[in-house]
Amino acid sequence: MNPELHQRAKQIFLEVCDVAPTARAIFLDEQCAGDSVLRAAVEALLASDSDPIHQLKSIDAPAIRSQLEEFIAGAQSGSASTPGVSDPQADPERIGPYRIRRRLGEGGFGTVYEAAQSDPVRRTVAIKVVKLGMDTRQVIARFEAERQALAMMDHPNIARVLDAGTTEAGRPYFVMELVSGPPITQYCDAHKLGLKARLELFASVCQAVQHAHQKGIIHRDIKPTNVLVSTREGRAVPKVIDFGIARAMDTEAGAQSLFTQQGQLVGTPEYMSPEQAVGGWDIDTRTDVYSLGVLLYELLTGTTPLQLDSTRRRHPSDLQRAICDVDPPAPSARLKTLGDSREQTASNRGMSADSLQRLIRSDLDWIVIKALEKDRSRRYETVNGLVQDVIRYLSDEPVIARPPTASYRFRKFARRHRGPLMAGVAMFALLVGGIVGTTVGLVRSQEAEARAQTEAEIARAVNNFLNDDLLAAAAPDRLGNDVSMRRAVELASEEITGRFNGKPEVEAAVRLTLGRTFRELADLNRAKEQLERCRSLRMETLGGQHADTLEATHELGHVYVQLDRNPEGEALFREAHEGRMRIFGEQHRATISSLYELSVAIGEQARYHETEELMMRALHACRRHLGATDPLTLTVIRGVGVLHSTMGQIEKAGPYYDEAYQSALKALGPEHPTTLLSLRDVAVYYGLTGRNRDADSLLTQGLAVSKRVRGEEHPATLTLMASVAMARFRLGRDDEAEILYKNALAAAERTMPPGHTVTTGLQAALAGMYAHQERFELAEPLFLASIEGRERNLGPLHPLTLQVISQLVSHYRTTNQADRAAPWIERLGTAEDQGDRSVGHSD
């Protein structure tokens, strides 16, 4: 096919259209006269004409998006130059000493060229030639005034203005460092930069502007097209261009107006500060702060705060009113109103719309709002103030812009020092779970050891009781088919009353054993009953300082701590420790044990410094006197790990956990309660360091063992279930996580006293997951229940209570119920005012 053939085919086609279909064949025979190529072409046209394409409707934007963006960038980017008409007059060959290479594009007030400089140095520059219509002399004069200062600016993120002059045609020009790259907003979208990256870029830009301010130069026209970003060695380098030019271009004629005499709009209204819009010469550095605020707004949301449509743009008074009076919505609020473009905006930031919504709240809102204050005395005073707040935000520190309530500072502190809040819940539950089964088996053997031959009778009696009566109680014919250890022990305990009259020591010994057993079985009230009785018996018969009494005291301490009555537990352990220290000395296992348990009881009350001190003492004693593989040593090592984690020093905790687990595995075997606890510690540690799959497999193993050995509803098992649920959730297996949490919670509610820490911990953990999934109607009641339970059991100011309250506050914020958050925030504030004892300090 060639042009001639094409023309002929076209002619014939058009003619044959008017011919009746039946006569067409003959007509074609005539017209094409044996030229089969021609005929084929016409027939193809005819066929197409009878079934015309209707798809010629639209061009799909995303497909040509990047081209559109390049096109939009125009100006210095060089790819979408004005095509076609090249008027020789419009493109000079030389401007002053510079040789013009090519036209780069049309700028706001003139044309930009790429040019070469040969003297005094060879380099490529950009030259901006100002349009006709501006008073050349004034422009140049004003530029000269600033030239000195401009020359002194030397900043990697500022495009240098090198020179200025007048063309032969009398038009002023400016010579600048050639900067290539798209405007910062386009760059960020094209590279789908996330918030952190955008904020970092923004911070560089701010620092550049600050540098200029220090030299006395205000930009006055900061907008995306004046901040170009190029990629150098894989890094994004922003450069601010046109410094000093806006000022030089200012018209004088009295008050500066938004429009020039010719009716052309000066500046870009969306980026103009109120003081600029209103006119007058009173511009200072805070004008740039405002424009930077607009830029930040756009980087976050993809829109400018004020969206000025074409009608408004035309009338100065409308424009002025809009800029000076209309309050733009906060970035997070604007995101909500984006409608269809929400998804696009979010994907340009490399995340989902919901994630974006979540991230841009509170602090970022406040920073932007403060920069955009109409009243400039309320803005950041300097650009430095703005960038410092952005940096603070990036480091998770409180931003100045935020109203400084105590609760806010507390939460920031907590976040810095404690790691993810959700993990924190598991952490505390961990500590509690650790009480169970630590030293029981140990002490039992120690007790057997400590018993002298002369107490053989007691021992025998106890053994007999256990073996005979208990086993008898467990006999199928007595209990039917439903035999459980707990039931058996319950029954046996009912047998005691009256059994040992006249033999208080025996009774006490039996009750001790029963008490321990009940504790093992997590029947705390019965345990307490037995042990109280045991202790008072021994107090009566042996006195407060006897080893056996101290033993009972120690056991009772355990129960109180498990009942979350920690101050009482602390008192008991202290008593036990002091007594044992006196009798056995520092090196005795029993003494160390009481010391350790005392530290745990104090730790439960969040007095972490004391805890650390005591626990380390216990650890030293263990290592020195008991050896590295001793079960108590393992327990204490584990405890130190948990303590560090609780204090937010996860890196310090890691090695302890590892050691504890490995030693436990070796010395005690995989089914020992201590081993299981260590396993969970290691898993939590994995979780906190991102090794979620490792955590999951380890925990699943442990859960199976715990179920088998301790029972499906044992608090330690339940806590393990929560840990597995957390790991599954982190791996994205939400459904499994939910089932686990729910089952664990149901079991906890069934078997434990109301408001028990494990129950409330599970409630908070599940609520946290729901909140994460944005199933808020499910999250809220659980949060409230958890808080209520902890308030009642631990007190309103206990860190565990406050922790859940923090989560609740977060949740309210996310769902825009800030008014409901207010009373809770008060509570957090009160807590902090009371000395911040609640959070560990690790500065």
Partner: protein, 191 residues
């Protein structure tokens, strides 16, 4: 930089009167506004929607000229420039896409291949660009007509005015061009 409606209108009128230099002056104004409009439109569009290039040019016109009464002849010049801009974008896109392929050989993309991509109803841009290039080689005027009608949504009388031909001629040329495009895009080897 914003151009005031009065300034734009003045240029448009002069272009309508036939002053060649006015057309040249019009270009940067149109481009500036197109950039602005395109930027806004891109921001508002989500990936599921199509951006009508015709809408782009229309919007740019409205924004620049607004309510001012302009003769349709002047308006036509505006749109012709808009059409050129759109064509440029298309060409850039094709160039970029080609560069991605091995050696950048020119393969002809037919409609039937193209139609599976994306939303099905829209013509693949490469195919369209190919077709326009080819048509331009064979018949410059037809190509211009397609460009102005399809990319900028100009009416036949407007096209006729800008190209300096009769409306009837435009109608005929358009019909033939559309037939040709249909055949070409469907893979015909003979047109």
């Amino acid at each position: 930089m914003e151009h005031s409606p009065q300034a734009v209108t003045r240029v448009l009128i002069r272009a309508g009167e036939g002053h060649k230099s006015a057309v040249a002056e019009l270009m940067p104004m149109v481009y500036d506004e197109l950039r602005r409009v395109a930027g806004d439109m891109l921001r508002r569009q989500s990936s599921g929607h199509t951006l009508q290039s015709t809408a782009l040019v229309h919007e740019a016109f409205l924004r620049l000229v607004g309510q001012t009464e302009v003769q349709w002849e002047s308006r036509a010049h505006f749109f012709a420039v808009g059409a050129m801009a759109m064509r440029q974008i298309l060409a850039n896109h094709a160039r970029a896409k080609r560069a991605e392929k091995r050696g950048g050989e020119r393969e002809r993309v037919t409609l039937s291949e193209a139609i599976d991509v994306g939303h099905g109803a829209d013509i693949d841009l490469l195919a369209l660009h190919d077709a326009l290039e080819r048509l331009g080689e064979l018949d410059e005027r037809q190509c211009k007509i397609v460009e102005q009608r399809f990319l900028a949504g100009m009416t036949n009388p407007e096209i006729a005015h800008v190209l300096g031909i009769s409306t009837k001629t435009v109608e005929r040329e358009w019909r033939a061009a559309r037939a040709w495009l249909g055949a070409y895009l469907r893979g015909s080897e003979v047109v």
